[in-house]
Every structure is written in structure tokens, then in C-alpha cells.
Symmetry: C2
């Protein structure tokens, strides 16, 4: 164990040292490294698939459910997808080096900010092996060194992917030590890693609620976490019913297992008798289970084919990640706003309305990473928001909120051009 701890420290030190030249590497150099990674992955398909097969076999032997198993599979087409994503990241604009807020002060000092990499980012993640390539590529593109610590379910895949990434980076003339991979999946090592605040600037946990809260509670290093989405759609009295049905359906059904899928539908009492049966009819075709409050139950009890059960207090504020929706009838916009303030997780909230004042109040008063009017909650996503790629979705307010793209893994430094000024 002692040896493993020292190894972690050494990796963090190597990453820190490599982050310095990487921080001012040219865009061309970084892009060459990324393209090299993509090509290197394609060139080594047989070895990657073989390693992945080992993960699959071990997962099957351990009795992993098919849905989970599917997440860790790499086949030819998925590998091509990973390489394509890496080429796409290479093609994005480099966030580093932007100069902004530059002003000349009365004393002649020219003062402003220059965008710089954060330095060293540690990513702690679970299952999907594509995350290894994704995060490494995004970090390198933004000039950051990265320490990767994936889950043990994909250890064989991650090990070879990390080895190939390091090779590709080195071939492109950048320090391979900018990418560190922790093979030992002992949790005590994660705990040790989280204490190395002199070497690591940011920790990004990607995975379930357990992982995220473990990281938050044990880290001496700043953490940007997210992923938990308790998402509401509020259908206002003045909603267009067709919009409301489309948005409630799409928000719930289009991809129910992700964080921006709707969990609770709030409906104004004046529109509930018309709207609720309409959305329930659509949902029933997709097999959505409705957990309804008393008023919604009453309206829906005779709707044909509806999977209807009474809501319990636990259903409010719950992230279902499944074809289940909690439904509540509210008396007013104010009640909807209070419900969201109490139960929302600060991810995405959407109002459906044709009323101008309601839309403005909702945008103004709801405190969440993304607040929408007349749009599906499924749009909260780096590529949909125009960021090109995303590392995750932050539900905290510090540093970055909502989808995190390249700019969100940078910082800035103040730069000052003087001509001999001293302070009086």
C-alpha cells in the first residue's frame, strides 16, 4: 500500500511538471497530438478490442446486468466513434491564449486577463471506457495535464487506451507525462489522490451520486461535480397544449436514463383537465408510469391504458432515470416556483407558457444551471448549447455551471504591461 501511495504522488508530480510546457504549447502541437491519438486508436483496434473482451468476460462472470454490460463494450463501430470524437475535439477552437478585459489605467498600466489552462485535472469516473479518451482529449486540447482513474469494470480497456494515448502524445512532441493513468483501482488511493492539492488543480468526478459525494467530502482540491438532475417541467395555465404535450413527452421519453430527462411534471390547475389526459395518452404508448398527486389522480383515473399510481412524498425531488414521471397539480406559478426551489437539484427547469410575464418570472426566479421557456429539458447538453464537446454538466455554481466545454477547464491570469510604475 505504501508503495502504491508513493506511486500516486509520483504520478501527480510528473503531471504537474508536464503541465508547465503544455500550458504554452501551440494550438498546432496540441491538435497534432489529438489527431495522433485518434489514428493510434484506429491502428490498434485488435489489441483494444481484445482488452475490452477481457473486461466483458469478467463483467459477465461477475453477473453484471446486460444494460450495464452494454455500457462497457467497445466494438469496431464504437471505436470509430471515439476516434471521430477525438478528431472533432482537435477541430474545435483553442480556448487558451484569449486576451480579454484589457484596459489602460490612469497611471498608464495596461491591465487585463489572459486565458490559461487550469494545470492538472484529475478525473475519477466509472464504467464507459470512451470517457478515458474523451477526458484526456478535452484536457490536452485546453492545455491541461490529466490524471485518469477509471473504474475496475473497464480496467483492461482503460489500461491499453491510456498507454496508446501516452504514446501518441509523445510521438507528437508533447510530454507523455501529461497523461497519467492509475491502474490500481483501490479506493484508498483515490482518497490519497484527493489530498494532493499542491499538484492537482481540479477534480472531476463522473459517475453515480455515491462517487460524487465521496469525492466532495474527501477532497482538499476544488471539485466540479454534477450529473444529478431532478428536472421539472411546469405547464402554465396559458400553455399551448400541443407544445406542452410535445415537451413533456420529449423531456421524459426521448432518453429517460440521462440527467436532463424530466422527473416531475407540474401542471397549473386550470389547464390540467385538458392537458393531463392528452399527455397521459401519449406517455401510455411509451409505457411511462405516472406517480400522481391526488388532483392529478382524479383527472387521470379514467384515462385508458395509463399506468397510474398515487405519488408518495418520496417521489418529489427524485431522479428516476427511468420511464417514470411524478405529476403534481399546482394552484399557481408561485406554487410551481416554490416546489422547484424546494425539490430541484439545480440542473434544468422548463416552463411551457404563452404568457409573457410568467415566462419572465420563471427565467428570473428559478435558480438552476439551465432555465428554459417552451423547450425540452433534453437540450441541456454541451453540443446542443454550442460548446462543441462536454466534460459533464455542473450543478454547482462555482467556476462553471451547466454544460462544461473547453473554456470551462481553463482559468485566466492577470497580465500587466508597465513602464516602470510604482505604487504611491
Amino acid at each position: 500500500m505504501e508503495k502504491a501511495l508513493l506511486e500516486i504522488e509520483e504520478k501527480a508530480r510528473l503531471a504537474r511538471a508536464a503541465s508547465r510546457p503544455l500550458s504554452y504549447a501551440s494550438s498546432a502541437q496540441k491538435d497534432a497530438a489529438l489527431k495522433n491519438i485518434a489514428r493510434c486508436l484506429l491502428d490498434n483496434e485488435p489489441a483494444i478490442l481484445e482488452a475490452n473482451l477481457k473486461d466483458q468476460n469478467e463483467a459477465k462472470a461477475s453477473g453484471m446486468l446486460p444494460a450495464m454490460l452494454d455500457r462497457l463494450i467497445i466494438d469496431q463501430s464504437r471505436l470509430e466513434g471515439i476516434a471521430k470524437d477525438t478528431f472533432a475535439i482537435a477541430a474545435l477552437p483553442d480556448p487558451v491564449g484569449e486576451i480579454f478585459d484589457m484596459n489602460t489605467m490612469p497611471n498608464g498600466l495596461i491591465i487585463g486577463k489572459k486565458r490559461v489552462p487550469l494545470g492538472v485535472i484529475a478525473a475519477i469516473y466509472e464504467s464507459r471506457p470512451n470517457v478515458t479518451v474523451d477526458i484526456a482529449s478535452l484536457c490536452l486540447k485546453a492545455g491541461n495535464a490529466v490524471i485518469l482513474r477509471g473504474g475496475k469494470e473497464t480496467i483492461h480497456s482503460n489500461t491499453i487506451l491510456a498507454k496508446l494515448i501516452r504514446q501518441a502524445v509523445e510521438q507528437a512532441g508533447l510530454p507523455k507525462e501529461a497523461v497519467q493513468f492509475i491502474e490500481n483501482t483501490d479506493r484508498n488511493l483515490v482518497n490519497h489522490l484527493l489530498k494532493l492539492s499542491d499538484q492537482i488543480d481540479l477534480v472531476i468526478p463522473r459517475g453515480g451520486a455515491g462517487l460524487i459525494s465521496y469525492v466532495k467530502q474527501n477532497s482538499f482540491i476544488p471539485v466540479v461535480a454534477g450529473g444529478i438532475g431532478v428536472v421539472h417541467v411546469y405547464v402554465d395555465a396559458d400553455a399551448k397544449v400541443t407544445d406542452a404535450v410535445n415537451i413533456a413527452y420529449n423531456s421524459k421519453v426521448q432518453r429517460p436514463t440521462v440527467c436532463n430527462a424530466m422527473d416531475t411534471l407540474l401542471v397549473h390547475k386550470d389547464i390540467a383537465p385538458v392537458f393531463l389526459p392528452a399527455v397521459a395518452a401519449e406517455w401510455s404508448k411509451a409505457g411511462v408510469e405516472i406517480r400522481a398527486d391526488e388532483a392529478a389522480l382524479k383527472i387521470l383515473e379514467n384515462t385508458f391504458g395509463c399506468k397510474l399510481i398515487p405519488a408518495t412524498p418520496d417521489d418529489w425531488g427524485k431522479e428516476f432515470l427511468a420511464l417514470i414521471a411524478a405529476v403534481k397539480v399546482v394552484d399557481s406559478l408561485d406554487e410551481a416556483l416554490s416546489h422547484i426551489a424546494r425539490y430541484g437539484s439545480g440542473h434544468t427547469e422548463s416552463i411551457v407558457t404563452q404568457n409573457y410575464t410568467s415566462s419572465q418570472r420563471f427565467l428570473n426566479e428559478v435558480d438552476a444551471a439551465a432555465v428554459m421557456v417552451n423547450a425540452s429539458t433534453r437540450f441541456t447538453d454541451g453540443s446542443q448549447f454550442g460548446l462543441g464537446a462536454e466534460l459533464g454538466i455542473s450543478t454547482q455554481k462555482m467556476h462553471a455551471r451547466g454544460p462544461m466545454g473547453l473554456k470551462e477547464i481553463t482559468s485566466y491570469k492577470w497580465i500587466v504591461y508597465g513602464s516602470g510604475q510604482i505604487r504611491g
Copy 2:
């Protein structure tokens, strides 16, 4: 103790609840509250001075040194200064509500960002009672609720100041619960406060290194910390000697007890024989002690009046906060850059040079909150950088770096204007 813990939780809950209406209070309302605070402080001068006298007497009785004692004194002129600062904060532009990065996407969604308050900020600070008013005013101006926990040396002053602030806020029609004050200075309560991540969005520790690392290591809440400045001035071979002397003198002597004062002077070997005696002569008039490396010792040994002692390894990377400077002769810009990378604390670094390439390399390669060319390090400061006011200087890279003004205690939310869009 149990009761005190529950009280802390209740205060955090009240602050969270008050933060909601405060987040969309108008600029006029917030400014009215700030002006009311300033007036209220002036109106209650006798009571404030009386409370402060108690603090002074207890401090004297406990044997506090005069320099420390001076920091906690409030007299009439200092109180007027505090009120004036509060009026000045009221006069700054409101950072909240700015809409930026707004774009229309190909699907017609209009997506952008709106600046919003962080929510609830906890400030944990030591000595100076003006910090109570400063931080409360800055937080309120940016729409944040605040939980104040000052040191026990100024408990009487802080208690009355917080009471008056709450009164003034309420009189202006904003919730007084937006300002919470923790009277019990038991450190266990701070530890408990640092765990309340559901109610508090940011912790700002202001004080010595011990306080800052305690907060960082015990907080479940994001922390923005700073204050430790190991600051270098590098005098390049091509420096203008008069500039170099002025900048090295000003950086060290103008206010030696603060974080942006210079600690280590690095001098290129080619200019050292001319420059070092010149700066040592100036420094000796101010009583600066020089801790010199071997090469610098040799050059300075015959300089008249110079307080010269050999540097020990501990002197590199040390924040002196006193009239002491470490001095090292380097062979090259590269050696200076390596020294700074190894020993700097990421606060402020300055190069003195007339060489264009050296200046660009220094700006590019040094990783610090503020990187300067031909300017005194003493300029790293919110008001000098044009922020109007400052909560502190961050030496971390997440969220805010360098001087933190009003904008640095805000976040943003993504806002989305749709017209019925769903995701395909």
C-alpha cells in the same frame, strides 16, 4: 453544544431562504440597503465605539502586541472610513442581471447566459472588524446572503456591527435574514458550518495560513482562498536600472506586511554588479534586511550600511511580511522561470526588462494570478486593477483568480428561449 449546532443550521437555512428573493432584488433596493447600512453605522457611533473599547480592553488584558491591537481598533475616523467604503460599494455597477454569450441556434432556440448571485456565502475571518461591514456590503450588492463568522478578538464590535447591518437591511425592505452572524466563536461550530453544502455555496476564509488550510481541509463546500503571496521580482539582464531599483524598492518597502509585497529578488548575473549595490543602498535607508545567495553576498559585501546575511534554503519560497528580502543571482531567464515555478505561490510575479522577447516569455510562461512587466508587485489589488472593491485575492485557479470583486462572487445560469422545440 448540540443546541449551538442546531442554531448554526437554522442560520444557514434562514440565509438560504433569504437568498431567493435577494437574488432578484432590484439594484435600487440593494443600493438603498447599502446606503442605509452606512448611515446606520454613523448614527450609532457611540455604541460601536463602546463595544470596540471592550474588545480593546480584553485584547490588552490578554497581552496582545500593539501592532495586532491596532488592527482591531475602531475610532471615529475609521468608522467614517467604513461608512464611506459602504457608500462607494453602493455606487458600483450591479453585476447581477448581465446577459451574455446569447446566440440563436440552428433549431431556433435562443441560448445564452445570465449573471446571477452565487446564493449564500460564508465568510470566516480574523481580527479587523471592518471586514464584517465590507464583506456584508459586497455580498449584498451582488445579491448574495452572507453568514459572518469573525474572530473572538473583535466579538463585541462584530456583534453590534452585524446587528446594525441587519436592522438597516430590513429598514430598506430586504430580508434581514440575508445577513447572519455567528456569535459563538467555538471552532467546532466552524467545522460544522463547513459541512452545510446544501445551504451554503461558497466559503471565503480570510486570515492566516492556519485558518485557510483548516477551512480547505474541512469544507464540503467550495472554498476560494488566497492571501499567501510568495512574490518575486526578476531583474533581467536588459533591465533599465532606475526602473529596477524603483520597482524592487517599492515592491518591498511601500507596505511590507501585505501579500503582494516582494519576498525574493532574482537578478541576472550580467546586471547584478551594477544593480545590486544600487538597490541595496536604497533598501538600507529603509532598514531592509538582505538574505543573499553566495553570488549576491560577494557583490554586496562592501556596500555601506547594508543589513546583509547569507540566505538559507528556507529563505526561498518564504513569505516574509516584513522588511526582509531574499536575493539570488541567476544565470538566465530560464533559471528565473524555474525558480519561480518551484517557489512561487501563484500570487504576483514581475519582470523588469527592456527586452521584448524576455517580457513575452515571462508573461507567457509564469503561472500566477498576476504576471507583470516593469511594474511594482504592489499593484495586485482590486481597486488598482479597476474592480472598485475587493473581497480578497485568490491564489487558486478555479472560479476566480487574483483580486476578487463583485463579479467574482456571482455565477451565471443558462437561459433558453424556445418556441416548442423538442430534441430529435
